[in-house]
């Protein structure tokens, strides 16, 4: 028995929001409804919450309860939800829909009629609300409540005009944008309702549903048309909907219009097929609308069901207006194709007479050409154009033509060719990528000599849709990959073919050489490379990529790339006997003009970082090859003298390399920043090859004078991103590190890399410290942490944590005590409540250290606790929570406290959800453990989570 006193007790027992939700979610009897209503409930729906540009729709436990009770007490629930004041909270509306669908359709219809007036007033229906209303339409329709279902569908699917004034649509594009009518909700949801729920309505009330769909399409067309198109009924549907039937030409760019056309078409087809409506009546219904798309649907319907309306079919086909209307061209052509044969002879003659009389106006054609193509047309042959136009009209009815006309047709086809897609006013085709005139199998089947003959003789047509040199080159690459020895052994035969093919062949070899184990016939390939280098860089007059490469520049780049790969271990390496030959090729390539300063200005900067630019230019790739060559030479020479007392003498043993390196270090000789970046990127290689040379030239590679700033930055940033400093390197580059730290706030400039060089600088410094090369007292390190902004400092701290995490567990890494000392220094500097805000990210980055699992538990937990007390958040919270769950048995109180702070720090109520398993483990261990403080704190935390709405931890709480 639910007394007034009991309800009062219940209300008094609700102390917080979680209790309120709990109470209503756990009521199982509808007997509470009346007493609660008397007590004032069910009268104030949960208001929406607006913050800035966002809107939230909180759930209303009261309506949620009513939705659950609707099946048990439908009349009572109906009376309560019908008395709800109007609310914009969609969650309440969703609950009401759920309630309605638990009642009989009659009762649901009573509520729906009230709801319709609310929907009508809405400008937009948010989130899943439309998705909720759709099934209600079906429910009402299937339950025989067709009036309510139709009203609901009509209001829900109603369309509004584009609110933008014409001037605004003009400003937005070169052409004036068409008005964009919009429904009350997302187009996809709109389509789903039309696909899933409209058919249920159609099954119950066919004609009213059909009329409703037609009205929606009509309104959409009216709202999409410019004012000048309104009276004429011009909807340009032949553009946005080339075919009424399903067809690949329907690109569905106007999604809403398309799905409405589908809906009207499908409804009409179904009614005609099921004979739930008279075909003539349907056609008349469609033709009553002024927009041409309706006439097209009517023609489509007549074509599908011609036997039901033969006279009307003949009437439409023999209508001059229909014959001439280009908007109706597609459906008229298909109707004539299928039904011309059924026309009487005189009717056929009428149509053929119109075709015979077709004339073209050359002036109109010329004017159109000038207007839309911006140029004069070529010579026009009126007779041929007319024949073509007539053939377009004749082709659909070709098989039903009288003999004399069939003869004319065949004659004209011989003259001007068979018309393509005559049933469309315009026809779209597309192709992807360059295509080859020969397939891979065809190329593989050719001998090398046959292939070369073909490569020399075949000429692309120049048509963008047809096969191109690039396409054939791609196929040649694939052939070279499939059978490299066949083509490499005969490589010299490929002289004098177009550079497009030579480049493609070399590119194929590069793919094969990389990672190949078997021997590769290098000699003929090097011969071909040498021949290429003797060719002029540009081919006079060659401008179009459809003809092929515009010169030998790209082939040079392919050579540099191929040779660079040939020096690397693990690939099909070059024999050392080719040292002199290969050097001649490399040296020639290092003189290539690309990259020019203009090239770097165009493709570098924000577009591409310098290191990437260097491997995309001939000289850059060649300079990479120089350094790989040097390593290759050193490797071979050292192997030869193994066991002897001879020592490596650096560049004295390869003067050619020293000469080229010094040459390109001179900015007057080579001003390229991309080339300079290679010196920075490969600086540790230079040290390894010749420490003395590197030491002598370090100031040239990384010049610190103000006039060489861009050259310095090119080398320095590449060094930071690609290298880690060793002892020798740091000694050589100390002034540069010091200077870079001094410049920290100024180091911002436009760059293509997402990562910040200052962040990398910090990582270098903490790495040096980690390796024991500098100490906490080092001025560069200290200066970095003083000058760097919080984000950059955090990056360097997080870098250590992430690196530690990647190390295997059994080898926690040397230098952990050093790292602990680093963090202790950092926390002594930044862990002050007054400055916690400005050091927040650095403090939070400790999460990576903790989550790495490498530091001893007590130290790590203590530090984590200190961080959390200051900022209540840490990075890598996923790993942090997992570790807390592991340490809880040995440090229960601290683990619970850390968790409590993390939960407090979670900005959103759903924040703790991502740690739910770990929370359970931590709380249950602490509550079941022997540590009284931990038990108390864990219990309090479980209660706190309960107050946040997480009921799942209730079972953890000790029984009172």
């Amino acid at each position: 028995m639910i007394t007034r006193k009991l309800v009062e007790n219940a209300v008094k027992s609700i102390k917080r929001r979680a209790d309120y939700e709990y109470f209503f979610d756990n009521l199982n009897s509808p007997d509470w409804i009346e007493p609660l209503r008397k007590h004032g409930f069910f009268r104030e729906p949960e208001p929406v919450i607006r913050k800035g540009n966002t809107i939230q729709f909180p759930a209303w436990p009261e309506s949620r309860y009513l939705a659950r009770m609707a099946a048990k007490a439908p009349d009572l629930v109906l009376s309560v939800i019908s008395a709800f004041p109007e609310t914009e909270n969609i969650r309440v509306h969703e609950d009401c829909v759920r309630a309605g669908m638990s009642m009989s359709p009659e009762k649901a219809a009573r509520w729906a009629c009230k709801e319709v007036s609310w929907i009508a007033k809405q400008d937009h229906l948010y989130m899943s609300l439309p998705h909720t209303f759709g099934p209600l339409i079906s429910y009402l329709a299937k339950g025989g409540q067709t009036d309510a279902a139709l009203k609901l569908a009509g209001t829900l699917l109603d369309i509004k005009s584009d609110p933008r004034p014409t001037e605004e649509r003009r400003r937005k594009a070169v052409f004036t944008e068409r008005p964009e009518p919009r429904p009350k909700f997302d187009a996809w949801e709109y389509g789903e309702i039309l696909k899933k729920d409209a058919p249920n309505l159609l099954a119950t009330a066919p004609r009213p549903t059909f009329d409703l769909l037609c009205e929606l399409l009509d309104k959409f067309c009216a709202c999409s048309a410019e004012p000048t198109q309104q009276d004429a009924g011009t909807d340009v549907s032949f553009i946005w909907r080339p075919a009424i039937e399903e067809h690949e030409q329907n690109t569905r760019t106007e999604y809403l219009l398309d799905i409405l056309v589908d809906a009207v078409r499908d409804a009409a087809e179904k009614m005609a097929r099921d004979r739930t409506a008279d075909l003539n009546a349907l056609v008349e219904g469609l033709e009553a609308h002024r927009w041409s798309v309706f006439k097209r649907i009517a023609l489509h319907l007549l074509r599908l069901f011609p036997d039901d309306a033969r006279p009307r079919v003949a009437e439409r086909l023999t209508s001059r207006e229909y014959f001439d209307a280009y908007e109706l061209r597609h459906e008229y052509a298909l109707l004539s194709r299928d039904c011309f044969r059924y026309l009487r002879a005189e009717q056929q003659q009428t149509i053929l007479g119109w075709i015979d009389g077709l004339k073209v106006n050359l002036d109109d054609i010329r004017e159109g050409f000038r207007r839309y193509m911006g140029k004069e047309p070529g010579p026009l042959d009126a007779e041929r154009i007319e024949k073509h136009e007539k053939l377009n009209r004749l082709k659909p009815i070709r098989d039903a033509l009288p003999a004399e006309w069939r003869a004319k047709y065949d004659l004209w086809v011989k003259d001007v060719g068979e018309p393509e897609h005559p049933e469309f006013v315009s026809y779209h085709t597309s192709s992807t990528g360059p295509s080859s005139p020969k397939s891979l199998d065809e190329l593989k089947a050719m001998s090398v000599e046959e292939l070369i003959t073909f490569l020399r003789d075949w000429k692309p047509s120049g048509d963008r849709m047809s096969a191109s040199a690039e396409g054939l080159g791609g196929m040649l690459t694939a052939a070279a990959v499939a059978d490299p020895v066949k083509y490499a052994a005969s490589a010299e035969l490929f002289r004098n073919v177009d550079p497009t093919y030579t480049r493609s062949l070399l590119f194929g070899f590069r793919q094969v050489v990389s990672g190949a184990k078997q021997a590769f016939p290098w000699e003929p390939v090097l011969g071909l490379c040498q021949w290429v280098l003797e060719q002029p860089r540009e081919i006079p007059g060659r401008r179009s990529e459809y003809e092929g490469d515009t010169g030998w520049g790209w082939t040079r780049k392919s050579i540099a790339d191929l040779i660079g790969v040939a020096f690397q271990k693990g690939n099909a390496q070059l024999d050392f006997e080719f040292r002199a030959t290969v050097w001649r090729i490399i040296e020639a390539l290092t003189d290539d003009p690309q990259p020019t300063p203009e090239h770097e200005a165009r493709y570098g900067g924000k577009n591409m970082d310098l290191s990437t630019l260097s491997i995309n230019t001939v000289r850059g790739e060649a300079m990479h090859a120089v350094l790989r060559y040097a390593l290759w030479v050193k490797e071979h020479l050292e192997a030869d003298r193994k066991g002897t007392s001879d020592r490596w003498r650096g560049f004295n043993e390869m003067a050619e390399v020293r000469r080229v390196l010094e040459d390109h270090l001179d900015p007057r000789r080579d001003p390229s920043l991309a080339v300079r970046s290679i010196y920075g990127q490969r600086y540790p290689w230079l040290e390894w090859l010749d420490p003395h040379w590197s030491k002598v030239n370090v100031a040239k590679i990384f010049p610190l004078d103000a006039t060489s700033r861009s050259l310095h930055d090119a080398a320095w940033e590449a060094y930071l991103f690609f290298c880690w400093p060793g002892k020798l390197t740091f000694e050589a580059l100390q002034p540069n590190y010091r200077e870079a730290v001094e410049r920290i706030p100024e180091n911002k400039r436009e760059r293509a890399r997402h990562a910040d060089p200052d962040g990398r600088l910090g990582c270098h410094l903490v790495y040096l410290y980690w390796r024991g090369l500098i100490e906490v007292g080092n001025d560069i390190l200290r200066n970095f942490f003083t000058r760097a902004p919080d984000t950059i400092r955090a990056e360097s701290i997080a870098f250590i944590g992430r690196s530690l995490r990647e190390q295997p567990r059994e080898n926690p890494g040397e230098g952990l005590p050093r790292l602990q000392a680093l963090w202790e220094w950092r926390i002594s500097e930044i862990a002050k409540p007054s400055t916690a805000k400005e050091n927040r990210e650095e403090l939070e980055s400790f999460g990576w250290w903790f989550g790495s699992d490498k530091f001893e538990d007590h130290w790590a937990v203590g530090m984590l606790l200190r961080v959390l007390q200051l900022v209540k958040e840490v990075d890598s919270d996923f790993f942090v929570s997992k570790r807390l769950a592991r340490v809880v048995d040995s440090m229960p109180e601290e683990a619970v406290e850390c968790l409590r702070l993390m939960i407090e720090g979670a900005e959103e109520e759903w924040g703790p959800y991502k740690w739910r398993d770990e929370i359970r483990k931590i709380l249950s261990s602490a509550i079941q453990g022997n540590n009284l403080n931990a038990r108390v704190k864990a219990t309090e935390l479980a209660d706190r989570l309960g107050a946040m709405g997480y009921r799942e931890y209730r079972d953890l709480r000790p029984v009172d």
């Binding site: 009991l6 929001r17 109180e893």
Partner: protein, 248 residues
């Protein structure tokens, strides 16, 4: 029994490896219930001064020979209720305008309004000898504008206690969606009744009934703990019992 009532556990400071601790203020001469200790700790965590006010009230109540013990305790409790609305980090955020240096205080605003009144009322044609009659002229318009600004400023910068209480309750609820107005109002009134009781005792009623006083104190302690250190699942068990009673 709720773990909060496990006395030994609750009085122990929470230590961490770095040595920082959060503990209830030491009241060695008092025998506190578990709930009182828990509340003391929770209040001290929010603001040390709140803990002191509460412990002051408890100390006063221990002075059995003191004829004013409940009056003095009520003083402290009234202050506690007042300052919880201000000191706690959940307090209503002050209007930044009020904080700005040079912004007039309430007295200055009232004086300014009075000045406008004096100056404009004399010239206003619709005001004659204490009677208003006639159209809104420039002077009356200026008076009305000044009154309107004054009222709006007071409303914003000096919220009523009930608004402050409502705000505190909302902010201390761990779900950010507010309780329905009717339930929230009941909670606000509960606070307000407590406040009025203790204020009454503090001002006028040294001979208040001990049992009555202890009952109010008990209510207040439960209320504050519910708000700041919720025992959600225990409360939901009570809700279960009510539902079961209603549906059986």
């Amino acid at each position: 029994m709720h773990p909060n009532q496990e006395k030994a556990g609750l009085n122990a400071p929470v230590t961490n490896p770095l040595g920082a601790s959060v503990a209830a203020p030491s009241i060695s001469s008092l025998q506190l219930t578990g709930r009182q200790e828990a509340l003391l700790r929770v209040l001290a965590e929010r603001d040390r001064r709140l803990g002191q006010m509460y412990s002051g009230a408890l100390h006063a109540l221990c002075q059995k020979e003191n004829p004013e013990l409940r009056v003095q305790a009520a003083h402290s409790i009234r202050e506690l209720l007042e300052k919880t609305l201000t000191y706690s980090n959940l307090a209503l955020e002050e209007n930044p305008r009020k904080k700005q240096r040079g912004q007039p205080n309430l007295k200055q605003r009232a004086q300014s309004l009075t000045e406008i009144w004096k100056k404009r009322a004399k010239r206003c044609q619709s005001f004659d000898g204490g009677k208003w009659d006639g159209p809104v002229d420039t002077h009356l318009r200026k008076i009305l504008r000044a009154v309107s600004e004054f009222a709006e400023g007071v409303d914003t910068d000096y919220p009523k206690r009930k608004e402050k209480i409502r705000n505190l309750l909302r902010k201390s609820d761990l779900i950010k969606t507010a309780l329905p107005n009717r339930i929230e109002t009941l909670r606000v009134e509960e606070w307000q009744l407590c406040y009025e009781y203790f204020e009454g005792v503090a001002h006028h009623n040294p001979n208040v009934d001990e049992k009555d006083f202890n009952g109010w104190l008990d209510n207040l302690e439960r209320f504050l703990l519910d708000q700041f250190s919720p025992r959600t699942f225990q409360d939901q068990t009570a809700i279960d019992r009510i539902i079961k009673e209603g549906e059986s």
